[in-house]
Every structure is written in structure tokens, then in C-alpha cells.
């Protein structure tokens, strides 16, 4: 993720509070039209997923049938079990989960601590640290691809959880988000804490942390999805089936050298299993997700 100027974002933040004001509802034909349009659009957006689900419940004969069937069939259980077994889905889901959670949690912790240090302390090299963190925004994975691979190799972390997660743990986006959030906390709070005799760490954990939950929740969603959906990094770093993540494993399910037949129903079953956790996270945490991203200062 890269640096983005976001004045509009800021303004949106201010205005988003106004979003809570109740609105008069539109009545009659106008509302019906809007509903209809929305449902049509949503149908288009949801269709690919629905179709993937339908295919994942069919058997091979039904998959190649013309005209294509649009209603779910009866082979759900056997397809999912077969896909699970064939691609070692259990291991891959575990690897993805480890990666996503570790990256999300790790990033949040590291960024929070760094942002706290940069905002609430005045120390030699503070600006240097700040700019160093900033520069990482300009170095996305592809730019350091080959050499990062060598570094990981030198550390002996190829094909390991450390190799999968640690290099992704420091990026500037979360740090800057926390920094901006901390900068918006009124000075008086910190002063009061100091007067109280509370040390910096206490201030961090007792005051800042509780205030940041919305931010943290939103960040967690974004970072979890980022970690779960990583493709290039795990592709490079892991090369045994035991370490593969589910997104890579799915790509390997697609037969590209003909001794295996294209079992699209199993591939779709795999795809469903691959996308379920992050989508579930979004659905369940969507309120925090939207809030935390858009309203980062309170």
C-alpha cells in the first residue's frame, strides 16, 4: 500500500458524523425504482459468487452440461470433502489463518508502538525514523522481490512461518493511521496523565488503547484480509505443500499439465472455502470496518 493524499478523506471524516442524523424517507414510486435498481445491481455483483457456489455443488457431468444449470445441485458434501482432501485444504486454511492473524496482530502492535514513540517522545533520530517508515511506502513487494527472497534465504526462513509473516509486519500505513489518531488526541489528556504520575506505557495502555479500539478493529479487518489474500509473497517463500496458503493452493488446483482432469466443481468448492473466512470477517465486522476507516478521529 502506498502513500495517498487524502484531504477528501479528512473532510469525509468530519462529515461522516453527520451521517448519523436521521433522514426522511422517500415514499412511493421513487423508492420502488431505487430498490429495483439496487437489487438488480446487487444481483449482478453477487452473481459470480452464486454461480461459483452452484458449480461447487454439481458433479462433473452437470458442470459441462449445456445449457448450464443455475440452481444448486446435490453434490455439495462430496465435492467439499473431496476438494478438502485433494488439496490438503485443512493445512492450507491453517497456514492462511496463521499468516493473516499474525500479520494483522503483528502489524498493529508494531505500528502502535512506533506511532506512540514518534508522537509522544522527543528523541534523537525521531524524524529519521519517521522518514524511514515513510519511505517504505514507496517500496512495495515487487520492487524488492528478488533480493528479499535472498535475505529470507540467508536467514534460513525460506518455507517457514517466520518468512511468511515477519517481512510483512512493518508497513507505514498502520503506523501513520495510529500517528494521525494520536495527534488528534487533545494534549490535555497526556498532560493530565503526566500530572497523575502515570508513565508513558501506562498512558498508552490505560488511555490511548481503549480509545483506539474502533481503529484497531477496522485495521484488523483490513490487515487480516491483506494477509489472507497475499499471493506473490507466499508463492515465492513457500514451496512445499505443507506450507502453502489457501490462495496459492487454489491456483495449483487448476490443472495446467494434463495428467489431471479439470475438475471445476472441486476448484469452485476450493474457492468457496478460500474466500469464506475473510468474507465472514467483513460481514461480521463491517460496522467497525466502515466506521474505523472513515472516522479515524473522535
Amino acid at each position: 500500500m502506498s502513500a495517498v493524499g487524502a484531504t477528501g478523506l479528512e473532510q469525509a471524516q468530519v462529515r461522516a458524523r453527520a451521517a448519523d442524523a436521521p433522514r426522511r424517507e422517500r415514499a412511493g414510486g421513487g423508492a420502488l425504482l431505487v430498490h429495483a435498481l439496487l437489487i438488480a445491481c446487487i444481483a449482478v455483483v453477487v452473481f459470480p459468487l452464486y454461480f461459483a457456489f452452484v458449480v461447487s455443488t454439481q458433479d462433473l457431468k452437470e458442470v459441462v452440461q449445456r445449457p448450464p444449470r443455475l440452481l444448486p445441485s446435490t453434490h455439495l458434501v462430496e465435492n467439499y470433502t473431496e476438494a478438502w482432501r485433494k488439496s490438503g485444504m485443512g493445512v492450507m486454511l491453517f497456514n492462511s489463518a496463521v499468516m493473516a492473524v499474525t500479520v494483522a496482530v503483528g502489524k498493529i502492535i508494531i505500528s502502535m508502538l512506533s506511532a506512540f514513540a514518534v508522537v509522544y517522545f522527543s528523541f534523537r533520530g525521531r524524524m529519521v525514523c519517521f522518514w524511514m517508515i515513510f519511505v517504505t511506502l514507496m517500496l512495495p513487494v515487487p520492487v524488492r522481490l528478488v533480493s528479499t527472497y535472498e535475505v529470507i534465504g540467508t536467514l534460513g526462513w525460506l518455507n517457514s512461518y517466520q518468512g511468511l509473516t515477519v517481512p510483512l509486519m512493518a508497513s507505514a500505513t498502520a503506523t501513520f493511521l495510529f500517528r494521525q489518531f494520536y495527534l488528534s488526541i487533545p494534549n490535555e489528556m497526556a498532560e493530565a496523565a503526566q500530572l497523575d504520575g502515570a508513565g508513558p506505557l501506562r498512558f498508552l495502555f490505560r488511555f490511548l488503547l481503549p480509545l483506539s479500539w474502533a481503529n484497531i478493529a477496522a485495521l484488523f479487518v483490513v490487515l487480516f484480509i491483506f494477509g489472507w489474500n497475499q499471493y506473490l509473497w507466499p508463492l515465492m517463500i513457500t514451496n512445499t505443500e505443507a506450507m502453502r496458503t489457501v490462495v496459492i493452493g487454489l491456483e495449483h488446483l487448476i490443472p495446467r499439465s494434463g495428467t489431471d482432469l479439470p475438475t471445476w466443481n472441486l476448484i469452485m468448492a476450493g474457492a468457496m472455502m478460500a474466500l469464506l473466512p475473510p468474507v465472514a470477517i467483513i460481514v461480521f465486522m463491517q460496522r467497525w470496518f466502515v466506521k474505523g476507516l472513515v472516522e479515524s478521529d473522535k
Partner: protein
């Protein structure tokens, strides 16, 4: 100083977690002498490899070979190279035929003939069939151990042939017949398209040139020196590609993608004729819902001689840098794999060619080929034609990229974006650049 213990603990825990993650090393291997064997076999082939390795491990008590599936051929090679650079290379690596030159000149491998000499294990080098030996030897010495070799052959849908009024026991033998049969298949509604192909460059460019005794590259297809250049944009190459493009328009030929992406076209009955690796026999036996047969690759006939096709597949390379006791295990495993019995077993199980003459003789004696005539097609195509200098194989550096380039240009031609001559000229120009790069990087 933080006043409560909780703050300290949380801070400490966080830092501890961070440090711990940074310090946990990758776990090392232990127990009886392990031989790491990296390969690229998937599906049933993976199962076959595991079974073969198990046979070896159970036949003796000193060494344990550990097979690891590392992805596809390109990924396996990349992984091996990266591991080698970190001094963590496996003992044995399966590398596809296009990586031969890269491996040979790499200085990272221990040639197989040398390994066997050092370990004083006798191998009957002369027993290996000529096309295989030719491909992987230098100065008469075998550098890698042949393992899974195949050659492209022609498959055809017997049921569809029947429906179209064609004799289901007679596959097309010339390109003219291919065209004729395809048109009949389409006309009768038996199939939608006539024929398709897998591995476009390997089958339609490399093998067609070899089969018709045409040079693929100068310097004897690269065997005689690094300053080689491609010759696929000469008369034959242009003629064949232009023909394919023309047929593409009539659906006589239907392009289905690279590698094995077009397999479904044959399996689904969409195309009645298919050209792909002989290694697919096993897969088709399991997966085809119709009767099918095999034949040799089609030929244009006069004025072109009928030579032989070239092999594909992969061989086993030994990586340098291991102590002699471990090399001994490697040598014993390689010997095991190349033994007549194991060869026969491997061939019957996977469909890959048996690569030693003894194995072939034994199979013949057991009427194996009579019972499985399709298995014989590949063998016959490789050994019963007239071997010429143009049909012994290819030895080019950066060959993976070159194949890529050729296939990309083929796609441009099939899409109608370029004429066959243009596409091939561009392919040759780019490939020659890569060959030059390779030569420069490997100045000997």
C-alpha cells in the same frame, strides 16, 4: 516507570513475541542418512514417485530418500537454485529437459557418470536408448539420470471416428490425412473441431522440425556451441505455422492454450484428434469416457525425410557440495531407479518411456506392448525412424524463456495479429538475444 505490573507484562510479552519470532530457527533434519529429492510430479505421478521411493527405502537400511513436491518444473528449478545459493540444495533435483543446458553449465552439479565413478557403482550406460542418451550427454558421458521421458504422439477418438465414417483402427499418418479426417469429423457432427495440441512449442515446433529432419537451431541444435541461433523461421517452420493458422480459421485446428490446457478439448469430445505427450496415456485411460487410440505424429511426406521425434520430460540431477557418504546414497538411489525392474514398473505405472533397452526387451518378452499397443507408439516413434543430426534433441540456454517467446508469438499468429513469417521472425530475433545473453554469461 509504569506503576502496574500489567503494563510491564504486556510490553514485555509483545517484545518477547517479536524476539522469539525472529530467533526461531528452521528445524534441521535428523535420523538415518537422508537424501533430499525434489521433484515436480503431481497427482498420480506424485503417488508413483512416492511408491518408487518407498520401494528403495524399504530395500536397504542406510539411506532414506525424502521426496518433496516443489511445484511445477519451473518452480522446482527456481527453488533448487535458490536453495543452492543458500547452500541448502537438495541432493537430487528433477529438472525438465529445457533446463538441461542451464544445469550442465552451472558448475553446481555433479555429473552422474562422475558420481557413479567416484562411488564405484557400475552402470551399463550403453543400455540406455539412444535418443535419451543423446539428449543428456556431453562428450559421450551422461550428466543426469534419465527418469521420466516421453515424446509427443497422436491421440484420436475412436468413437468419433466411427460416427464420422472413418475407420476407428486407422489414425491419420500424414498431415493431409489429418486435414481430411478433421473435415469429415466436423461435417458429420461427430466433433466440433478436428484436432488440437498440447505444449505448442514442444509438439508443433520442436518435434515437427525434428520429425521432418529440419534444424531447430544452428550448431547442430546447439550441441556444438553456445553461439547458436534459431532456425525456425525458415521455409518449413513458416509453412507449418501458417498451415496451423489457416486451419484455425476453419476449426480444423483449435488452439487450446499452453502446456496441457487443451487436454479438456480432447477429453470432452470437442476435438477428435489430439497431439500430446505419451505420458498422458495413464490419465486418458482413467478419464476418457470414449474409446481412443494412438498413432505416431503426422508427417508432411515428401520432400521431407521421416526422422524421429525428440524426447521431453525430465531427468534427475545431482547437486554438488555433499559429503561422499551422502553421495553414496544418492548414487544407490539413482542406480535403483535405472534398474530394469524399476524401469518396467515405472513405465507400466506411469506411461513414461522405459529408457533402457533391457527393460524394453523384457516388456516385449512379456507381451506388454501387445497388450498395450498405445505404449509402443511412443517407443516406435523414437527408435524406429531414421535418426538424423536434427532429431537428437536440443541443447539451448535460457530455453524456458525461449519456449515462452515462441509460444507467445504462436498465439499472436493464431489470433491473426501477425503472419506466420512475422511471428516466427520476431520469435527468432528475441530468442537469439537470449541465446547471446546466455553465451555471454557462460563464457567458457
Amino acid at each position: 516507570m509504569p506503576e502496574t505490573k500489567t503494563s510491564w507484562w504486556s510490553a514485555g510479552a509483545a517484545l518477547l513475541l517479536a524476539t522469539a519470532l525472529l530467533l526461531v530457527p528452521a528445524t534441521p533434519a535428523l535420523a538415518k542418512t537422508e537424501i533430499q529429492f525434489w521433484h515436480a510430479m503431481t497427482g498420480q505421478l506424485n503417488d508413483a514417485v512416492n511408491a518408487l521411493v518407498k520401494q528403495f527405502n524399504e530395500s536397504q537400511a542406510e539411506y532414506e530418500v525424502k521426496p518433496l513436491q516443489k511445484g511445477n518444473y519451473a518452480e522446482t528449478l527456481t527453488a533448487a537454485i535458490a536453495a543452492y545459493r543458500q547452500r541448502q540444495a537438495p541432493h537430487i533435483v528433477q529438472v525438465f529437459e529445457v533446463g538441461t543446458q542451464t544445469m550442465m553449465l552451472s558448475g553446481a552439479i555433479l555429473p552422474v557418470y562422475q558420481l557413479m565413478k567416484e562411488q564405484e557403482i557400475a552402470v551399463d550406460w550403453k543400455d540406455f536408448i539412444a535418443p535419451v542418451v543423446g539428449y543428456y550427454s556431453k562428450d559421450g558421458n551422461l550428466y543426469s539420470m534419465p527418469f521420466n521421458s516421453s515424446t509427443p504422439i497422436l491421440y484420436y477418438n475412436k468413437d468419433a471416428f466411427q460416427k464420422a465414417g472413418l475407420d476407428p483402427s486407422k489414425p491419420p499418418q500424414t498431415w493431409k490425412q489429418v486435414e481430411e479426417y478433421s473435415k469429415k469429423l466436423i461435417a458429420s457432427g461427430a466433433t466440433k473441431c478436428g484436432f488440437s495440441t498440447g505444449w505448442p512449442s514442444w509438439v508443433q515446433v520442436e518435434n515437427m522440425h525434428a520429425l521432418h529432419d529440419q534444424p531447430f537451431a544452428s550448431k547442430h541444435n546447439g550441441f556444438d556451441g553456445l553461439d547458436t541461433q534459431l532456425l525456425i523461421n525458415q521455409e518449413f517452420g513458416v509453412k507449418h505455422l501458417a498451415q496451423l493458422a489457416a486451419w484455425q480459421k476453419e476449426n480444423v485446428f483449435s488452439y487450446g492454450g499452453r502446456r496441457g490446457d487443451a487436454d479438456p478439448k480432447f477429453l470432452s469430445g470437442e476435438c477428435g484428434i489430439y497431439m500430446q505427450s505419451s505420458a498422458l496415456i495413464g490419465g486418458f485411460t482413467k478419464g476418457a469416457s470414449f474409446k481412443w487410440g494412438t498413432g505416431q505424429l503426422p508427417h508432411y511426406g515428401a520432400p521431407y525425410k521421416r526422422a524421429t521425434s525428440i524426447i521431453g520430460g525430465a531427468t534427475l540431477w545431482v547437486m554438488k557440495g555433499r559429503p561422499s557418504p551422502e553421495n553414496r546414497g544418492t548414487a544407490r538411489f539413482l542406480k535403483f531407479v535405472s534398474d530394469t525392474n524399476q524401469q518396467m514398473w515405472w513405465h507400466v505405472t506411469t506411461g513414461y518411456l522405459a529408457i533402457s533397452n533391457s527393460a524394453v526387451k523384457n516388456l516385449e518378452a512379456g507381451y506388454h506392448f501387445k497388450k498395450n499397443p498405445d505404449q509402443y507408439t511412443a517407443f516406435a516413434q523414437l527408435t524406429k525412424g531414421t535418426a538424423t543430426p536434427n532429431s537428437q534433441g536440443l541443447r539451448l540456454g535460457n530455453f524456458t524463456q525461449i519456449r515462452d517467446v515462441i509460444e507467445a508469438e504462436m498465439e499472436n499468429v493464431f489470433a491473426g495479429k501477425k503472419t506466420a513469417k512475422q511471428g516466427l521472425d520476431d520469435a527468432v530475433a528475441k530468442s537469439n538475444e537470449m541465446l547471446k545473453e546466455f553465451a555471454a554469461a557462460n563464457k567458457q
